[in-house]
Symmetry: C2
């Protein structure tokens, strides 16, 4: 038995698809799910003004801000500012979004639970009106 | 339903206990386990030469190097160098250690599985002879 190392060549960077993200977003894999750990991790970087669409996670998600300032909002609540080093937990089924502030890029490391192979359910985009409601 | 935010005041920094670590080590909580996510996260920083004792994790552990260069070794294998941005998975029960290189401090973010409330079983210290065998 040995450990597994995820070197750079196993950590492809992809653009966040326009269907699910507003603005420029890059996603870099950190580690995948495995037979024991039903959660995966990635760095997700948002240029200023960029954000996810509204979405839910069937097994929840944590993120920790590693650079810049994050904005996050759960459905019906206010937009919250999350600083570097701080973390957030979205429980299963909670409708929410997260992204950069209008003027500062943001990177967070996400740890996303997986249920029956599924980690996210995408909903509608976050409108400019919703995003500016702070 | 709302998200949970772990602000700085919920992320205490503690020294890695001398019983389980060699050299100066700081542990800062990022997020705890919860009812859904049976894994927790922390930043762990090692001064040059510092390392964990040998140990195992009942539900495995991932880490990603966020600063510096990590050394890691599984029992019976070589010491491996892990660079910033790279990640490692230690499966349940694998005897291993990790820490800084002799000349460079290292910080990694760990994501540690929990089984029946337990996340680590500590073993003997990594001797200077074992640590210098690279």
């Amino acid at each position: 038995m040995a450990h597994t190392t995820y070197k750079e060549d196993s950590q492809p960077t992809i653009d966040g698809p326009a269907e699910y993200f507003t603005g420029k977003v890059r996603v870099q894999s950190v580690f995948p799910t495995n037979e024991t750990a039903h959660y995966s991790s990635a760095y997700v970087t948002f240029e200023p003004g960029a954000r996810t669409a509204w979405h839910t996670h069937p097994a929840g998600q944590h993120f920790v801000v590693t650079d810049g300032i994050a904005w996050a909002q759960s459905w019906g609540g206010p937009i919250e500012v999350i600083n570097k080093g701080e973390a957030v937990w979205f429980p299963p089924g909670l409708k929410h979004w997260h992204g950069a502030s209008p003027d500062t890029a943001m990177t967070h490391l996400v740890v996303t639970g997986s249920l029956d192979g599924k980690s996210v359910d995408w909903l509608e985009k976050v409108s400019d009106t919703q995003y500016s409601d702070r």
